[in-house]
Subunit: 340 residues, 4 copies
Amino acid sequence: MAESNHKVAVFGATGYAGALAADIVWRHPELELTAVTGRSETGLRLSDIHPRYDVPLKLEEPILDDIAERAGSALVAYPHKAAAPTVDALLKRGLKVVDLSADFRLSQAAYEEYYEPHPIPELLDQAVYGLTERHRERIKDAELVANPGCNSTAALLALYPVADLTDDVIVDVKAGVSGAGRGANDKTHFVSVVENVSPYSVGRHRHRAELEMELTGLTRISFATHLIPLDQGILATVYLQPKEPITQEQLFTRFTEYYASEPFIKVVKNAPGVRDVRDTNFAAIHPAVEQDTGRVIIYSAIDNLWKGAAGAAVQNLNLMVGLDEGAGLLTGQEINNARA
Amino acid sequence: MAESNHKVAVFGATGYAGALAADIVWRHPELELTAVTGRSETGLRLSDIHPRYDVPLKLEEPILDDIAERAGSALVAYPHKAAAPTVDALLKRGLKVVDLSADFRLSQAAYEEYYEPHPIPELLDQAVYGLTERHRERIKDAELVANPGCNSTAALLALYPVADLTDDVIVDVKAGVSGAGRGANDKTHFVSVVENVSPYSVGRHRHRAELEMELTGLTRISFATHLIPLDQGILATVYLQPKEPITQEQLFTRFTEYYASEPFIKVVKNAPGVRDVRDTNFAAIHPAVEQDTGRVIIYSAIDNLWKGAAGAAVQNLNLMVGLDEGAGLLTGQEINNARA
Amino acid sequence: MAESNHKVAVFGATGYAGALAADIVWRHPELELTAVTGRSETGLRLSDIHPRYDVPLKLEEPILDDIAERAGSALVAYPHKAAAPTVDALLKRGLKVVDLSADFRLSQAAYEEYYEPHPIPELLDQAVYGLTERHRERIKDAELVANPGCNSTAALLALYPVADLTDDVIVDVKAGVSGAGRGANDKTHFVSVVENVSPYSVGRHRHRAELEMELTGLTRISFATHLIPLDQGILATVYLQPKEPITQEQLFTRFTEYYASEPFIKVVKNAPGVRDVRDTNFAAIHPAVEQDTGRVIIYSAIDNLWKGAAGAAVQNLNLMVGLDEGAGLLTGQEINNARA
Amino acid sequence: MAESNHKVAVFGATGYAGALAADIVWRHPELELTAVTGRSETGLRLSDIHPRYDVPLKLEEPILDDIAERAGSALVAYPHKAAAPTVDALLKRGLKVVDLSADFRLSQAAYEEYYEPHPIPELLDQAVYGLTERHRERIKDAELVANPGCNSTAALLALYPVADLTDDVIVDVKAGVSGAGRGANDKTHFVSVVENVSPYSVGRHRHRAELEMELTGLTRISFATHLIPLDQGILATVYLQPKEPITQEQLFTRFTEYYASEPFIKVVKNAPGVRDVRDTNFAAIHPAVEQDTGRVIIYSAIDNLWKGAAGAAVQNLNLMVGLDEGAGLLTGQEINNARA
């Protein structure tokens, strides 16, 4: 495979995350978008389906041999199970791959507990879990990165700095509708969502598995998700009772130190709203000690399509192909700020 | 005071809760709305301010002597601290009063801890806390009922049946904007709210005080509130770790038995959305045991303006004046259903 | 058929209009809801599908012989073309029918121009077009009433009083999503609708046909429809250039006189928002003469599910079965007001 | 004044349009943001007020002498009347100015008819009306550009190519709330806006004056505006009856030819939604001939904060300071596309 890995194909570019991934690559100063694939809408331009994204490339059928001629890297935005065979084929053709599905995030055992029999378990070993802030060095060397789930991202970024404080945590997620995908059904119908707040995946949300994997010291993780009448955005409110008392200042310092050099993490002094990070790749995190109880409550806000999906995917791809992590995601001034 | 206590004045009828209270009384088959008061909009009809409510009465200045001639009961929908003097004056004139503010909900100590010096502490003794499902018998005999806070109502209804299971609880509230009142400010501006989820009253929400008062066995109560881009509705997600394991069936039975004869409480088999109870006086409650942790998670949905304010106020007033609790709030068929 | 025509079956009670129709009948003081039908959700209670409506009847398969035993009237809320055979069968069994589809609104020629070949054209003669305010007397005697389209209702109520002023009119409709029905597709997906305003049925909306039928003097009718991120509601802005100048006072008087005795029409002094009539059967209409141009601009607001569908259907049914037109739709006080 | 006119100060950076203007300049590859001013929030960073925009500059008091030392150009985003004195002072200090208010858009007579006595009429002569697509050459040489109103922009872009077809036009505007500004009042309260569509400025909207000025052949312009529950976006539906019949093809060709070389105008084959252009500086325009009437209906969608305010302001500033018109507003690839 002689193609530069700066040439990127996006598979599944008609879904919300795939379309945004294509748009970010299209506008990226150092990556080149060379192919976008879609199922039923082949032949149309991506901008016909998603006019807000001004990407004039025509949607192609996912003919791997053809596309692999034109790309050295791929972002795969397929549903779980559908993704694995395409990822496998792309790796075999020498492409670097960021997979946005759940297919390569978990161990085989966990995948099969939370999802279904894994289609290609032998690939799992080479996948790196793509929570960049935690696994940056391994991502740089990876051929395959498994982009984390959106809810998991919001929760994990809140928990990494404090996971040693407790073994018991509650994650209460408020999530926008784009996280449920472009599929039209009774749950995503406007009339079902507007003027509503409704719990979903009650009992067990699959993204919980990623917390178990990443935070092995937490033996009791509650994870409850709620659908909110908004388009993009996740606010995770994370509750934990520290075994030893901790002060607000100590807690805040933990976070500022943990994320001191992170370009995309803002540790903020007031609890953030999801609007604060809308259409950006930032996570805004506010850790607080509740006076009355000593409980730690951490508010973590991301845009599920950016830091929760497409933005994080490009962040990972940047590292994999040797670019600055923030390229195409931050302005030059922001990159300078983050470095300063 | 010779007026029938079926003649009702609504003080503060221009706010959201007051306007709905006026509308419910207006449409009530056995109560008669005899006066509505407002501050700046005196002389206009209530339907001019709130066209959706077809109440043609003109807003009056709150001249107590005058209005007390025409009413035997009152609903007072003023902000806290402003309410107490009016309530006092109405009681002295022999009216039965439901106060929708926080002024008579708490002990003096708690009020002064969470709010400010109490304007008329000597009245506190005669006030009954108006969570009808808990204090029905005392409400029937009360001259003054303190209508509970909207968030407290959602939380308490979830907690009464299980408060003996633990001493530690987390209440995560998702609340619509009407709960913040009709005051226009940066927080309630459409652009601030839409496409947002934002924590508010971070640190300590005042409604927490009502939980402390009602659930004395709970020594550790976390209470976090989030503003959601919707008009009416509260979903409280309540988390507690029972000291002894409990099964889903046991838990569900607790709730169905606890609320067996309640006309306004629906114990439901699936987690409710706030839309399910919109524009009704129902609370929909779903108790669940999380398999992975044994944690109890209770979802409690109400319409903050109905069961969280104006609906509950009329429910209480019905009892105080000797009517069927559901009059004006349920149809005849629903009352029959509830009795059957 | 011996059943009282106060016993009502609702066919297609799982759609938005059908569910509301069932709810209105359920709460109606003089009608009795005896059956609700649904397609795939047979066996569930209507309140399981639409929890907001507290209708405990179980959804049945539409077995006409069985249901006709229990009902003397029917509201049919099927899609066009599907409705006609059921309507036919119900009429043959002696029921009075209000059909909410387009099947009996138009002449055969118009139906076939705007829709498709008519399934049962011989029934058209006996159908009365159910714009109550215009055709009240004929509705009283009808066995079959064709309930008008929601957009047509908003437009016609604005135009009846002024149709003689011009032959040329523009109707610009802003409509909520429930008017598009419960079908889940790309157009009704929350993410497609929120933060959007989008024209639909560009070129020709079928409801235009009803204006041609009812307003034969208007030879040039433009009709443009726009989907708005709201649940319920239609605002029609109607523009016409009068052949002779008309003053604001003359125009306003035309409307107040035309609708002087109408219980559901409010001619209002300020342009209404759809929220003013939400969840009511009222239409709020504001006629204005634009100073700069002399053009007449009429703002007409209804709730598409109420006055635009289910509310109007019950209003018609009330008349057909000899009840007060507002029964179940207005409170007793409102009926008195309307009569006064 | 020795400062490069690539150094830009934004006055009134706390409002919606000013904040976005500051953000665009901040991220602009060739402009440098050197000062942002605000009233009450002086000392805070702009990103504290508008976290979504990652602009770390601190808000300053508008001390003109100080700021003029550091900037060669200014964007002034003040309310009308407040803007004029600042614009005057900046011009005197040698800065190039784009004013986003109404103060310099109109003739003195028109301003005083639609607004109030003009504070500095002698400046009007040197102001160029900043509808870039129409007045590009004059803008390049201007010291003062009056940025058009948002509703006017949507309407004018729809009308320029067809203004010779008629003398009579109706503009029906559907507008998001951010156009009403950051001021909190009853009209902008979330509860007033959500689930509503409401006419505003009924009778006469001030933006109508800009149409009269730009389209002198149109002697009868109706202009009706409606507030929609969305954040950003305007859809103008423009109706006109051509004096001579025109075919769809002829009409479409007029538009494609008129806007053939425009980087920010998309003449589209299907009627656009405002979401299609959200957060972009594009206008999407669809002209249609209504078959039934021969009427021309033009749908014109913009983001009111971008093409309707801040985006257009930077587009104008780019021209004034000798940069590529699309710099900072289009990606490099888009600029190439637009040129190709």
